[in-house]
């Protein structure tokens, strides 16, 4: 009888173990996160559609490269942590601004340090630029918004390869809040340099809403869609890299000029890499 009990218990244990080995619990390290170097790049290409009757092709190219240091300031009892992103260096250029504008924007972005609270699943709350006087306005580049766009949200429960989870994220800006729908699929789990890595497909979609406080207003009738790959270092609980490519069409209304530029095609590539 005892032998039967032992065999049954062993079989159950083996079964449970085999189930667990397929499930992965993904979580950010919010209690003793290592100091990380962040390398963030964003490039935007915008162009008038070729069928818009323009006589001259019109387009814009911009490129932004930021190095920052992410540190944990406080670990809270509820499992979340407060983090600070200190901007270390900025390189910026745009074919629609002057070289002096670049220098000013670089200098300004260098002071745009920000803080936020983060739960173990990556949900961000209380995001804020440290210096209230440097809060970016409608017409200024916003590093916090860029970071929020690529920040992944983890499932919060064990998942298997092939499983998908979806989370809406609110991104507050000057004059409006945008709801961004993020969807993730666990593609692969492997070990690299002794760390368990999760390769995750990430899709992001949102509609550009009108900011009623701006006198140049932008909206998208359809979703702006981003797709790419996230590599998450599950052993250390940190993002290793994110590559996202966004595409969408926006209508831009210049209230002062009384003009509407319809169907402007915009592409954005965002790359994030972290080291510690």
């Amino acid at each position: 009888m005892n032998l039967i009990k032992f065999c049954a218990a062993s079989a159950a244990l083996i079964f449970l173990c085999s189930c667990d080995s397929n499930d992965v619990s993904l979580a950010f390290n919010t209690q003793n996160a290592p100091v990380q170097k962040y390398f963030l790049e964003s490039s935007i290409d915008a162009m008038l559609p070729s069928d818009s009757g323009v006589t001259v092709p019109e387009a814009m190219e911009t490129h932004l490269k930021v190095q920052a240091t992410l540190s944990e300031l406080v670990a809270y009892d509820n499992g979340s942590g407060r983090f600070e992103m200190k901007i270390d260096s900025v390189e910026y250029k745009s074919d629609k601004r002057t070289v002096e504008d670049y220098l000013y924007i670089q200098k300004y972005l260098l002071t745009q340090h920000f803080q936020y609270k983060m739960a173990p699943d990556g949900s961000v709350s209380e995001p804020a630029v440290e210096d209230v006087a440097l809060q970016p306005g409608t017409e200024e580049l916003n590093l916090l918004k860029l970071f929020m766009k690529v920040q992944p949200i983890l499932p919060g429960n064990p998942v298997k390869v092939g499983e998908t989870w979806e989370r809406p994220v609110e991104i507050p800006e000057s004059g409006k809040t945008t709801t961004v729908y993020k969807s993730f699929t666990l593609e692969e789990v492997y070990v690299h340099d002794g760390a368990q890595m999760a390769k995750i497909n990430m899709t992001v979609k949102y509609k550009e809403q009108i900011d009623s406080t701006a006198n140049v207003q932008m909206e998208s009738k359809n979703f702006i869609v981003g797709e790419g790959t996230l590599l998450f270092d599950n052993t250390h609980g940190v993002v290793s890299s994110v590559n996202l490519r966004f595409t969408g069409h926006v209508n831009v209304t210049d209230l002062a000029a009384g003009s509407v530029i319809p169907d402007m095609h915009v592409l954005q590539n965002i790359k994030l890499r972290s080291e510690f």
Partner: protein, 239 residues
């Protein structure tokens, strides 16, 4: 002997530097809703950004100088009274004469600002956004954007001078009413963007290096373009 002399000289220089630094008063915080800059405490030093909130009032007395660090930015949301005199103007300029600072930004939507006998120098950009007020005998000197007026009902320029700015005066979606104002020796004089109007003596806008008066609409029509600078910038910052 030589070493002792050198040490004394270095110490003297250091003491002088400390004395100069110590003589500069930090830009004050509001007390009972007022920020008051007085001549006796001048010069002031501002290293970072400051917001004069909509419930605060900024008073600046004649003869005050504020030295700006490279990250200095003044966001003026409250009631603003910068009142120099002909004999004792108020001066806001870069602490390092070869450097620049961010600039002053009037966003005081409820109450008109009042700026008289004032010199603003070495800023990257000074703006008036959705505010109204008067600049009287104000000198905009050696700024990148001397004054950028956007989405305003009216701004008055009386006896003002724009000198050695890269872009002296830009007006978009608003009206500048000008009397006895000179815009000369800048790289570009007046730039009128969409909805920008300038009521004043245009003949006083002369002697600027590249152009005296430009209109964005004419430039766009001339080059067959439809998309303005503001639209490109909005896409970049909003996307």
């Amino acid at each position: 002997m030589f070493l002792r002399g050198l040490t004394h000289a270095l110490c003297g220089t250091l003491l002088l530097a400390v004395a100069v630094f110590a003589s500069e008063m930090p830009f004050p915080h509001p007390e009972n809703g007022n920020i008051r800059l007085t001549e006796k405490d001048s010069p002031y030093i501002l290293e970072q950004g400051v917001v004069v909130s909509s419930s605060d009032t900024l008073f600046v007395e004649p003869g005050v100088t504020v030295l700006m660090g490279e990250y200095a930015k003044l966001t003026l949301r409250g009631s603003i009274h910068i009142l120099g005199t002909e004999a004792k103007p108020v001066v806001f300029r870069s602490a390092d004469s070869s450097g620049s600072w961010n600039g002053m930004h009037f966003v005081s939507t409820n109450r008109p600002f009042e700026v008289k006998n004032f010199v603003v120098q070495n800023a990257f950009r000074n703006t008036v956004f959705r505010s109204r007020g008067i600049f009287e005998n104000v000198k905009f000197v050696n700024n990148y954007y001397g004054l950028w007026v956007d989405d305003v009902p009216e701004v008055f320029l009386a006896r003002c001078d724009f000198v050695r700015n890269r872009f002296a005066l830009s007006v978009r979606a608003g009206k500048v009413i000008s009397a006895d104002t000179k815009i000369s020796e800048n790289v570009y004089g007046l730039y009128l963007e969409a909805g920008g109007k300038y009521n004043g003596d245009v003949s006083a806008i002369k002697g600027n290096l590249e152009s005296d008066v430009r209109k964005e609409s004419d430039e766009m029509a001339g080059s067959g373009k439809r998309v303005s600078r503001s639209v490109w910038h909005r896409i970049e910052t909003g996307f």
